[in-house]
Structures are given as C-alpha cells and as structure tokens.
C-alpha cells in the first residue's frame, strides 16, 4: 500500500515532532533544554527526508543528502550550543537564556 | 528492512528469522563464556575447572538478592542493565558465522560501531541508576574513555571498509581471499582490538570499574544486574574477537580444517591475547588515554587509512 496516504501520514508524524520540538525550544529557559527542542525539530526533518526519499524519489540521492545535511546541522548545533553554554557559564555562572540578554535591542 | 545479500544469503534467509536469531544469540553467549573461562584460567591457572566457573558464578548471581540503594532511578537503572547484553547480542548480528551473517546490510561495519556506541549510554545509565557517588564516577570515566577510543576505532573500521570496497562484513571476508588484512593494516588491527578492550572496560582500560572507586560502575550492582553487566561485557568481548578475526585475520580462511573451525581458532587466539594482555598491563587513567588516543592514535590511524587508500587505488586489493 505504498500510496500517497502513507507519505502524508508519515509527514504528519514528522510535523508532530516539529511542533513538539518548537514548543520545547520556545518554552524552556535552560540553554541545554532549548537545544533538545531544536534537536527534536531536526528529528522530524530526518523522518520527512527519509520518507520523501523512499516514497517520492528513490532513484535520486537528493533526499538522502538532505538527511546527511540534517545530521550535520544537528552536530554543529550541539557542539556550538555546548560551547556557548560553557562560555556563558564560565563568565557569569548563568545557564538560562532569560539572563543572557546582552544582544537584546 | 535491510535487503539481503544477493549472492551469499543470510542465516535469517536460510533458517528463518527466529531460529537463526536464537542460534546467533547462543553463539554469542558461548563466546561470552569462552571469554570468562579464559579469564579464570589466566587468573587462577586452573584447567578444565575454569570452564565451569563462569556458569557456577553466573548461577550464584542469579540467585543472589538485589542490592537496594536510597532513591535510585530504577527505570533508567533497569533500562541500562537490560541494554548491555541486548546491545552485545545485536552486535553479533553482523559477525560472520560460517561465512554468513544473521542479516546482511550495506552498512554492517557502521552497525557494529553503533552497537558499541549504544554501550556508552547503557554503561552510563548503570552508573547513574543507583544514586551512588562511586558508581556515577565510574559512569563518567567511561564516557571520558569513550571520547578517547571512539575516533581511532572508527578510523580502523573505515580502513577495513576502504580496502574491501564495502561495508558488508561478508564482503570484507571475501576481500581477504589472497592476503589477510592484518598484513597491510597492522595499526588498524591493534587499534580495533585495543578499542574492544576499551569499550568493554577491560584490562588497562578498566578505570570505570577501578578499585580506587570501589568498583565504579559495578560497585552497587549485585544479583541479576551484576550478571547482566558482566555477561554483556564478556559477550561483547567475544563478539569483537570474532569480528576482529573476520575483519583482519581472514575469517574462516585456512588450509585442511573446515572454515568455521578456523574462524573459531582465530577468535580463540584473539580472546587469549585480549585476556592475557589485559590481565598483565597496568591500569591507564582515562585522562592519559584521551591524550594518547588523540595525539598519537588518531594521526597513526589516519596514516594507516592513507596507506590502505593508496594501495586500494593502485589495485592492490582487487
């Protein structure tokens, strides 16, 4: 039953992951928890990319490349997030975004 | 689902999924018993009795009462305890037995690596669960050690993949038709076996369970939990020895004797080396391991990969 419905159901699930992740990224105060929200959003992108490859264009590698790029974005986001958390914490003993407001206009 | 190897076929496709999985799991457990028995034999100098000892102490642990601690994270503790042997057995799925694997994917080597990475989570959870300081210290030590051994281990697996032109373990065995990989990639072989000792916190890499922190990860474990951790570690060591024999020592290639016997003999040799060496080398502190791994081993394994890549391009392995 590889019909269009399967693609839409899987994409809906992926959208659910994006929604949950966005809620987490916006509502959490701690930088580390915000990163977890962003990771969940990207998790949804992984699923959507895999489904798009299998159910739309299995002949082309482009959707696979999208998944690879998403994985790299996750790694970069995580590494920079940890580095920034350490830098902020070291200078001011703060790990919450509400208190890191230098760049606030 | 992972597609089947077109030419060789898998154990699952010949015997059915469930019987094949049971056989592979049984082989994994036997390899674990082999490792424990070899360890007993090295430590006590016993002969045949060393073979019975793991079973006896295993039964004893099964009957032993579970240790209770104050305010443990029971859910995560149990998850970690179950994950160690499960992950060890899952890694057996891509180890060739009699020339075939339980299932064959186009990324067997990465699968093996992923199972070993899952061990990071499992062992840390075992350290976190009991809510005890020595236990958690052991968990942290394991993560620090993981950061050290992971990159060299990955590079050694990549080297194998480059030479074979495939990530499928049966293809790797087939690619060693003329010459065992250990001849052209000795560094990768040593790093792979050393990495096995490191992720099984064995021998010089046993700091996560060190005596200075009262047994570390194992300090609060008794009964079934302890059995699961120790048995899982033994199975993983056995599985990795079998994998090392397949990836570097030609798998079941050899004259006169049937193939599986050769593979078993090579596995036993690797196990003997691991156990004998592991019991004789002094404990390395994780902070020292990290610098050694990153400053010495990473460049060495990269150089090894370069040599193998040049050989592969020049058609040496074809």
């Amino acid at each position: 039953m590889t019909g269009e419905v399967v693609l839409q159901i899987v994409l809906t699930v992926a959208a659910g992951l994006v929604g949950v992740g966005l809620y987490g990224a916006l509502s959490q105060q701690s930088i580390v928890m915000i990163m977890m929200g962003l990771e969940l959003v990207l998790n949804g992108v992984l699923l959507a990319g895999g489904a798009a490859w299998f159910l739309i264009t299995p002949e082309l590698p482009d959707a696979q490349m999208l998944v690879v790029v998403t994985l790299v974005v996750m790694a970069v986001e995580m590494a920079m997030g940890f580095a920034v958390t350490i830098a902020i914490y070291r200078s001011r003993q703060v790990d919450m975004v509400d208190m890191a407001t230098e760049l606030k206009g | 689902m992972p597609e089947l190897a077109a030419d060789v076929g898998t154990l699952a496709s010949t015997w059915g999924v469930l019987p094949a999985a049971l056989v592979v799991a049984a082989v994994g457990v036997l390899l674990g018993v082999l490792v424990s028995a070899a360890d007993r034999a090295v430590v006590t100098g016993q002969g045949v009795r060393a073979g019975v000892e793991p079973l006896r102490s295993g039964m004893q642990l099964l009957l032993e009462q579970r240790r209770r601690t104050l305010a443990p994270d029971r859910l995560l503790w149990r998850v970690g305890g179950a994950a160690v042997p499960v992950v060890a057995l899952l890694s057996m799925a891509v180890v060739p037995l009699a020339g075939r694997t339980l299932w064959s994917t186009s990324a067997d080597l990465v699968w093996f690596n992923a199972m070993e990475a899952l061990l990071w989570a499992a062992v840390w959870l075992m350290g976190w669960g009991p809510n005890a300081v020595h236990s958690l210290t052991g968990g942290y030590r394991f993560l620090a050690q993981g950061l050290a051994y992971e990159l060299p281990l990955m590079f050694s697996l990549i080297t194998v993949g480059v030479a074979a032109g495939s990530l499928r373990s049966t293809d790797v065995v087939a690619a060693q038709d003329g010459l065992w990989f250990v001849v052209t990639m000795p560094v990768a072989f040593v790093v792979f076996v050393g990495g096995a000792a490191a992720f099984a916190f064995w021998g010089p890499f046993a700091a996560p369970t060190g005596a200075d922190i009262a047994g570390g990860v194992t300090s609060e474990l008794s009964g079934l939990d302890r059995l699961l951790l120790l048995a899982g570690r033994a199975v993983f060591l056995g599985a990795t020895a079998a994998m090392a024999a397949a990836l570097f020592l030609g798998g079941d290639a050899g004259p006169w004797l049937p193939g599986p016997v050769w593979h078993l003999l090579k596995t036993v040799a690797v196990v003997a080396g691991l156990v004998w060496g592991g019991r004789r080398l002094p404990l390395l502190r994780p902070d020292r391991v990290v610098e050694l791994a990153w400053v010495v081993l990473v460049p060495l394994t990269l150089l090894q990969a370069l040599v193998v890549a040049v050989l592969a391009v020049s058609g040496f392995y074809a």
Binding site: T2, G21, I56, A87 | M1, A107, L292
Partner: protein, 192 residues
C-alpha cells in the same frame, strides 16, 4: 523491496508515533537524565523508521551519532541543570501559552499543507544498494555539499574549542611563552 508491506507501514507509523511520544516526554519528565534519554529513545525510534525505509546506512549513523551526542548531553544536563535527578520538581519554563500556541500553529499549518498539496507520484524504484547511491552522490554529483559540510564542521571544531576553553597559551607557557613544559591542571598521557 520496492513496496512497503502492510507490516512495514504499521511499523513505520508506530515508530514515528513512538518518536513523538518520547519527544513530548522530554518536556514532561522532571528528571534531566530521563529527559535526555527520552530524547535518545525518540532518535532511536526515527533510526528504526529509516531502517524500515531501506536507508540502512543513514539509520545506523543516526543511532550512532545521537547515542554519543545524548551521552555527552547527559553530562551537560547534570552539570548545568538545577534539578538533575528530578527529586525536587520545579518549573523551568517561560511563556508557556505562547509556546504551546506557536507549536500547535506550526503543526496545524504543516498538516494542512501536507494534506492539501498534490504530491508527485513516485518516480523510479529503490536502488539495489541505497548506501552506494549515497556514497556515489557524495563523491560525485553532490560533492560540493560535502565540501561545504567539511568546512562547516572544521569551523565548528575551531569555534567550539575557542569558546569552551578558558586557558590560552599564555596560561600554559607563561607570559613570555618560554616555559619548557605547559602548566596544565591535568597532565596528559604523552608526557609533554
């Protein structure tokens, strides 16, 4: 191989649903350790879904990377959060209503789009070896993507180290950089 059997479709949807449930659990549980490993479970469920979709290599790489990431994440969670084990439940959220609204709106918009769009029909069949397809794309038609990824990762390594390290060479080798051995709080294993 080219079509999903009904078992595979069920597994795919179940794994996806599991990923969402574990993802929601990340923001519900009190214990930071449990939140981290709920996120790991969510990633592993998606890795399972990719396995069902025949993307073996991407599935195991996802499991591999995310396990290591979450193990490191657990260390950071316990280092920085005030309530690592969830023994003293406390609220660590701001603007909850707005966030729920934003999450729900985005979900609704995406779902509307997903079910309104006229999706293209499937072109071609799943190749014999999806891993080879990806490898040849990386080293061939899509090499530019890989080059950019490599530079980005290298930049990340440098920037991350610069941000995270507190001790520069003057701390290690003295004000005139003349110390024969660096003054490190923890001596490494190479004997420098």
């Amino acid at each position: 191989m080219t079509e999903l059997s009904s078992i595979e479709v069920t597994a795919l949807i179940a794994l996806g649903a599991l990923a969402v449930v574990f993802g929601a659990a990340v923001f519900i549980v009190d214990s930071m350790a449990r939140a981290t490993f709920a996120l790991l479970a969510s990633f592993l469920a998606i890795a399972g879904a990719l396995l069902v979709l025949d993307l073996v290599y991407l599935a195991v790489v996802t499991a591999l990377m995310m396990t290591i990431e979450m193990a490191v994440m657990a260390v950071f969670m316990i280092m920085f959060m005030m309530n690592p084990a969830g023994l003293m439940p406390m609220s660590m959220v701001h603007n909850k209503r707005g966030s729920v609204l934003a999450g729900a709106t985005v979900f609704a918009v995406l779902v509307t789009g997903i079910w309104m769009v006229d999706w293209p029909t499937r072109r071609g069949l799943v190749p014999e070896d999806p891993t080879r397809q990806l490898g040849e794309a990386i080293m061939g038609s899509h090499m530019l993507v890989m080059l950019v990824i490599g530079i980005a990762l290298f930049g990340t390594i440098l920037a991350g180290t610069v941000l995270a390290t507190s001790r520069g060479r003057y701390d290690r080798f003295g004000p005139d950089l003349k110390a024969p051995r660096p003054d490190d709080p923890v001596r490494g294993g190479v004997g420098r």
